[in-house]
Every structure is written in C-alpha cells, then in structure tokens.
C-alpha cells in the first residue's frame, strides 16, 4: 500500500521566478546521484511552517514519478523529500 519513498536529499534546482499564481516554479533538479529530472508539471505548491520558518512545498512530476521538493526560505536550500511511483 505504500509506494512512497521518503527522502532528505539536498538537490540542485533550476527554477523560474516570474508572474502569475505560481511565482516560483521548479523546472528541473539534479539529485546527489547525478540523475537529472525534468519537471513536466507542478501539481501544487503550498507553504508549511516549521516554527516561524516557512518552507514551500512543491509537488511536481516528470510524467512518470511524482516528487516532493521543499524550498527553505530562510536557508535558501532545496531538498527532495519524497518520490512516488504509482505504477507499481
């Protein structure tokens, strides 16, 4: 029943900062293994508070797997915290 893998990988992210409802949009990210993932759709972006610190959570997909990226607004870091493949 559990096809999610929870992670805490520091990742490098290419993101666009622009206009519209999603001011920040991750476009691609590179995992510590060197694997690069191109984001095909941003499903939802929502903020979450860790105390007074805000992280923005981006649920994205590359068309085959769903990923969760977290952007820490205080530390300016990105982490990959979950991947899920529902085709298993």
């Amino acid at each position: 029943m559990n096809d999610e893998t929870f992670l805490n990988e520091r990742v490098q992210v290419v993101a666009s900062f622009g206009e519209g409802l999603n001011l920040c949009r991750p476009l691609a990210f590179k995992r510590p293994s060197g694997r690069e993932v191109t984001v095909s759709e941003l499903g939802l972006r929502h903020p979450a508070n860790k105390g007074v610190r805000t992280v923005h959570i981006f649920d994205v997909t590359d068309g085959g797997t769903d990923y969760r990226l977290e952007f820490d607004t205080e530390r300016l870091t990105w982490h990959l915290t979950m991947e899920a493949d529902h085709y298993e």
């Binding site: 409802l21 499903g43 939802l44 929502h46 979450a48 860790k50 007074v52 649920d59």
Partner: protein
C-alpha cells in the same frame, strides 16, 4: 419571521463543498494519481479507517470509515495515502480567500466546506446572478488551486437548503433550491439525505408515520415539537425545511480533545500512557491557543473485549498546563481495562484563561504559568514538539497531528 409558510424570498445563501476534498487535493498535487482510486487515512496501517476516498475509489465501493484492510481487499489497486494536513489547510485558506471576495460574512463549516451569506454584502454583489457567481467561484478554484479541483455549489434561502442543494449533483454540481422547487426537490430525497437526520432522528420520525422528506415538510410544527423531537428542535425543523434561517449561530468552544487508535494490539500499559501523555500535550496546546483553561478532564478507552470505558474528573480550580492535564488523565487511566485499541482525552468546562483567578493562588501557579508560556513560545518559534516531556520522546512518530474534522478553530 413566518413559521407556517415557505420563505418566498430570493435565495441568498451559498454553500460551497469541495468534492472528496483530501483525495482531490492529493490528485491535484500528484498528477500520477489522477484517474486512480485514492483513499486517505490518518495512518498507514491496515486497521486505520479511510477518511476520504476519490470518486474513482468510491466507484469501486470504497466508503468513508471503511478499514484500509477491507478496502484493499475490495480494490487491490487502491492507493492509500497518509493525510497531509498542511496541504489541505492551504486549500482551505485558498477557498476562504476566494469566498471573501464576495462577502465579509462567510462561515467555514469545516475544512472542506463554507457558506457565503449574500444577504449581508454590498448592493453591487447582491444585484449579480448568484448562479453566475457560483460558476465564477468554481472557475477561481480551478485557476488558482489547480485543474483537478472542483466543488459543489448550492444556493438556497437558508443554510440548510443551500447545503442540501450542494449535495444534489456530486461531483461539481451547482443547484438552487427555493420556494418554487422545494417540494419537487425534497420529493427526490430520502430522510437520511437531509443534514441532521441520521438513524436516531429517522427512527423518531418513523414513529409518527413520517418516512419521506415531503411528509416531514408537511408535518405541523406542534407535532414536530411536542411528539417527535419533544423540544424547540421540532419548531426549528419546521422552519428550516421551509427555508427560514435557524442555523446562523456560532458555538463557543466547549471541549478540546484528541483520540488515538493504538498502532498495535496488546501494547504494554507504559507505552499506552506515553501516547496518552502525548495526546494531553496536544490538547493542552490547543486549549491554550484558544485562550482557555479547563476544569474537567475526560478519558476513554475502547477495547475489543471490554467495550467502551470512560472516566471524568472535575478539579476545584481551572488548569491549563500539560502536566496538570496528564496528571489527572493518568490517575483516571489507572482503572482502564486491558487489551486497549483506542484511547482519547478531552478537557471540558472551559473558561477564559484570565490570569486574575490564578494569581490569587500564589507563586506556584504563577511559576507554572510562566513555564507553560515559555514552552509554548519555544514551540511556536521552532515548531510543535520542539520542547516536550521526556516521557513522550519518540511518540511523535506515531501520534501525529491530524485534520480536525468539524472544527475550523485550529486551521
């Protein structure tokens, strides 16, 4: 106010209900889940109940309250996810923002539904066609949250009929009930389709020969008040069904509580008490966030062999610290049965936490007050659970914060 006839006024109450809210939000967030049967449970164990199912899952026979194990047996392809409160809270706030564009008088009834009162808004908005406004709200949700999001909209002359209208065509419906189609609409429903009529009230109505909503509508106020409900509730139903407002009320917080289904059966008592302690910390935090102190503590336990067990204790003075709540709960729990599967704790007889009363009782209470305030401030700064009792260390992995159904106080 007219108790006998239908409300002939223009319907100006709008009820908005997000469809299969948590499952839909997950399908919005995670595109690979779209079109698949998805269920949300509060914990990733087979004994947990499903709190929301996607429409694809409902089509396979999955229903709310069903145990995950049973659901997986019915639909092996079902994707079960653990609930993700911050995500749902975000969508709740987005919905609330959209609703506030139309009236300052909105009421969020729960995390996935709200009411807009157009009787109390600007003339400019009142002049608009509310059906058009309903479609505009659906469109805003689609554009501002995501393309999977949809909602049911119901418009009626009072909250009850607006909610009833919102339930007529799921998912993504928009319906209006007013005096012109009231009888026709109620004629298509069963008693249990009416909000507020569950098995107990249905049995009461059946006793006097009322088996359908239309018969309920045609019943006179005296019968409903004196024979069926034996209270003012009967009079209220008589008015409610006719489109007169009786539900525009707010309730003060009366209890604060939490419950937890133990992750394993046969858990040692010491571990159960640790989880109870964790619940007490959570209850204390919630209670203080509302500026309340309590006079009473209530605990319960459910056991497959002994059934439902509960105890309560009323203290002579108000209390609000986590330690005070747990000390009383643990004492009550001494008498709890063996073989427990679920525990719960509530604080009741809440009163405003005005320092005046406490300061009468000297330094010790003042010290507790300062320590509690310091703990709350640290947890607020660094996140819930940063500072807690050593006894509850490790329990946060199991006893997580969950979505409070039916209350929007903590969202």
């Amino acid at each position: 106010m007219n108790n006998g006839s239908y409300n002939m006024g223009r319907p100006m109450i709008m009820h908005i209900d997000l469809n299969s809210c948590f499952a839909t939000v997950e399908q919005q967030a995670r595109p690979m889940l779209r079109g698949r049967p998805v269920a949300i449970a509060n914990r990733r164990t087979e004994h947990t109940s499903i709190v929301t199912a996607s429409y694809e899952a409902k089509a396979l026979g999955i229903s709310l309250g069903m145990k995950v194990r049973e659901a997986k047996r019915l639909a092996p392809e079902l994707v079960v996810l653990e609930s993700d409160p911050p995500k749902y809270r975000y969508v709740y706030h987005k919905l609330m923002d959209i609703m506030k564009r139309y009236s300052a008088h909105i009421t969020m009834k729960s995390i996935d539904e709200g009411v807009i009162d157009f009787y109390q808004t600007t003339g400019e908005i009142q002049e608009r066609d509310l059906v058009e406004v309903g479609y505009e709200i659906k469109d805003s949700l689609y554009r501002e949250v995501g393309k999977v999001m949809n909602c049911n909209v119901g418009i009626g002359p009072n909250r009850f009929l607006a909610k009833t209208a919102a339930g007529l065509h799921k998912p993504n419906g928009l319906d209006v009930i007013d005096h012109t189609n009231l009888r026709q609409t109620l004629g298509t429903l069963k008693l249990r389709d009416l909000t507020g009529i569950a098995s107990h009230n249905e049995a009461r109505l059946n006793k006097v020969g009322i088996y359908t909503p239309l018969q309920f509508l045609d019943a006179d106020a005296t019968t409903l008040q004196k024979i069926v409900f034996k209270s003012i509730v009967g009079q209220q139903w008589h008015r409610r069904l006719r489109g007169w407002e009786v539900d525009d009320t707010s309730h003060d917080v009366k209890t604060v509580g939490r419950q937890y289904v133990l992750e394993t059966r046969g858990m040692p008592r010491a571990q159960i008490l640790q989880r109870l302690h964790n619940l007490c910390e959570s209850v204390g935090h919630r209670m203080r966030s509302q500026g309340k102190a309590a006079r009473g503590v209530f605990v319960y336990a459910k056991s497959p062999t002994s059934g439902y067990w509960h105890r309560r204790h009323m203290a002579p003075l108000p209390f609000y610290s986590n330690q005070a709540i747990y000390a009383q709960a643990a004492l009550l729990f001494v008498e709890a049965p063996e073989d427990i599967k679920e525990i719960g704790v509530s604080c009741y007889q809440l009163e405003d936490d005005t320092d005046k009363q406490l300061s009468l009782f000297g330094d010790e209470l003042a010290r507790v007050q300062r320590v509690t305030a310091a703990i709350d401030a640290i947890n607020q700064r660094f996140g819930d659970g940063t500072l807690h009792s050593a006894d509850t260390l490790g329990t946060e992995r199991h006893v997580k914060q969950k979505i409070p159904f039916g209350s929007t106080r903590y969202l």
